[in-house]
Symmetry: C2
Subunit: 388 residues, 2 copies
């Protein structure tokens, strides 16, 4: 397999974006990613757009994004793996370069979700599973699915509501330092704990918001990377897996099998272990999801996720800083953009370019991106490194 | 780039399928493709599902298809490039094997469209373009887009309504020999010509139907292919391109630039020319589209497509037989399945396994798949060959 590097990164402001259409929103990141490495439009050999769709009007966003960006004769497609659509786009662009199809490929992630009212959003999110069987029959919504996991984790490992709220406080702490984040305001543990219950034990501050936003990366072969940048960030391995569509068919509710499996594959491909990781982004659609991710990714033993956050080990200066961009929780979660945004963030961290106060200490030069679709229906884990 | 072969092919009956859900429908092809080469479930390293979605309830079909097929721990995603979604899935599986990510990968295409009433279908198809600008502002439907091309082609090259109807008669002729086709009934030139006008000059028999159906292929590396089959069909090259989302920004209306560009790339990758092709499937969503494809793919000079069909050169025994499975017109067009179905058909032809009366004469052992998304918004051309 050929070497593939992230050579250009771009990221829009996340939040409520009524000022732009979907193609304009995508272009904000496309332009920044291209400017970041000075790549010429004509060098782009393939484009992949990550977008779940359904929240905005355009059903063929890929060709619209291409047209607006001036890529009218570049082949493209849209990929969807629920909330992991962005990582699926990164994988597609990666395979395009790794296989030799293209020397330079672009992955773009975009979603425009805030035009839809909250009730419709809850309906659309709830469909992310086995729609006909579990959503229609039992009326389970997305927070309820993750609440099942939270309750099981509390029951088996003594995890508390405070532990979950600590994840939210950390997210807002770093979101406040990230000018591209949707929420840039610190919160207290008390505020998180006393927020409105959505689906017990999950409260308002345990949940990520509905967001608009985009992110883009330019990926390049070794030859092209050498020409385009002095700070390549290499994709050392991508692991991906899936799990049952029906929640009722899961073997347990204290972790995501897809995460454990995808990370095992990614570590093997990258020839590293979890202890080598300097900095990570984890899929914290709900706070319980971040705690489970620590465990499923091997950052700690099963059941010890809460201890990691209690001890401050996932903050700057800790053993394994996680979501220093604010995470889905504070940065926002425009579905198709999220996975690409994570690669942008970890690349920034490995390049030492994160905003003041939220830059991790880089020792091994290794970062990890963890992106989940649905309730563990899909999982993509990407290992990035400063060295090839 | 590593060699990649089609080693297993599967295809469901196309038509109105009220007897199965989307996962069951996909499985009909998945099982046949796996049985075709005897591959074990555990050997499948990645799955890609081609499905445009929107016509059926499940928004996350990829994980459902995986669950039903027993691929619960295999990574998957859905890809969409409008009516070229199936080819986008084939390309993704191809890149997975070509890059070395997987030894064996599966591409599955599925769509369930007939549950939706005709008016909603017309609305959904019409959105395949620049929705907010052209569909909302001008109310252009899909037949109207292709009628623009038909009128331009008639004006510039003297193409007639009879020429287009001849394509339909040919499609029904071969569809009648294909037990998996939606329409298995011959029609006369007179019947086609006198059918109801949909958008002049296009009539009912110039248009492909709304369909349910699925198709699947198992792709393998050289080592795996040698082990799994005695009749590998090699993917010699895939070219893909796109064009403006807005029809008003096209340079002319007598051909699809995306087809010309994608085929140029595919021929270059495969190191062949159009004259080497023994048999092809062309994207005949409307009869005019097949005539333009002959020209854009280089099977004849620009403007001479009608002559090819008039002279019977695209029938069995002709210079370049096209759509011997009935094409989209008679076989049916379940959007996400179509591109995969085309690879199944051309593989069958190259293996000499097509049904009686519709087997092309194979000289060079080379076949071509042409799959268009939208009105030339996307185009994928895949060159297949009996030799590596």
């Amino acid at each position: 397999m050929r070497g593939v590097a992230v050579v250009g990164i771009g990221h829009s402001k996340f939040g409520r974006r009524t000022d732009v259409g979907v193609a304009e929103l995508a272009f904000e990141s496309v332009k920044r990613a291209m400017d970041d490495c000075g790549v010429d439009r004509k060098e782009i050999g393939s484009v992949t757009l990550g977008s779940a769709g359904g929240w905005y009007e355009e059903p063929l966003p890929a060709v619209l994004v291409n047209e607006y960006a001036g890529f009218e004769d570049v082949g493209t497609m849209r990929v969807e793996a629920a909330c992991a659509s962005g990582s699926a786009a990164v994988r597609s662009a990666y395979l395009s370069v790794a296989s030799g199809e293209a020397e330079v490929a672009m992955a773009v992630g975009v979603e425009k979700m805030t035009e839809v009212d909250t009730l419709t959003s809850v309906e659309l999110m709830g469909r992310s599973g086995s729609y006909l069987w579990e959503f229609e029959n039992y009326g389970m919504t997305f927070p309820a699915y993750y609440a099942l996991y939270a309750v099981a984790h509390m029951g088996r490992y003594g995890t508390t509501e405070e532990d979950m709220s600590r994840v939210a406080v950390k997210a807002h702490h770093y979101g406040a330092m990230n000018p591209l984040a949707q929420f840039q305001k610190e919160i207290t543990l008390e505020k998180a704990l006393s927020s409105q219950v959505v689906s017990w034990p999950l409260k308002l501050y345990d949940a990520c918001p509905i967001s608009d936003g985009s992110a883009a990366v330019v990926l390049a072969s070794e030859d092209a990377a050498r020409r385009l940048t002095d700070t390549p960030v290499w994709i050392r391995g991508i692991g991906f897996s899936s799990d049952s569509a029906n929640m009722s068919r899961r073997s347990d509710y204290v972790g995501l099998r897809a995460t454990a499996d995808a990370s095992r594959k990614a570590y093997a491909a990258a020839k590293i272990g979890p202890r080598d990781v300097d900095v990570a982004t984890c899929h914290d659609c709900f706070t319980i999801a971040e705690l489970m991710a620590y465990e499923d990714l091997g950052f700690c033993a099963k059941g010890e996720g809460p201890k990691l956050v209690r001890d401050g080990q996932t903050e700057v200066g800790g053993r394994i800083p996680v979501n220093l961009d604010g995470g889905l929780k504070a940065k926002g979660h425009p579905i198709g953009a999220t996975g690409v945004s994570m690669v942008v963030e970890v690349s920034k961290q490995l390049r030492g370019e994160a905003d003041r106060g939220r830059q991790a200490q880089i020792r091994n030069g290794v970062g990890l991106v963890h992106n989940v679709g649905g309730t563990g229906h899909y999982c993509y884990v990407t290992v990035l490194s400063r060295s090839r």
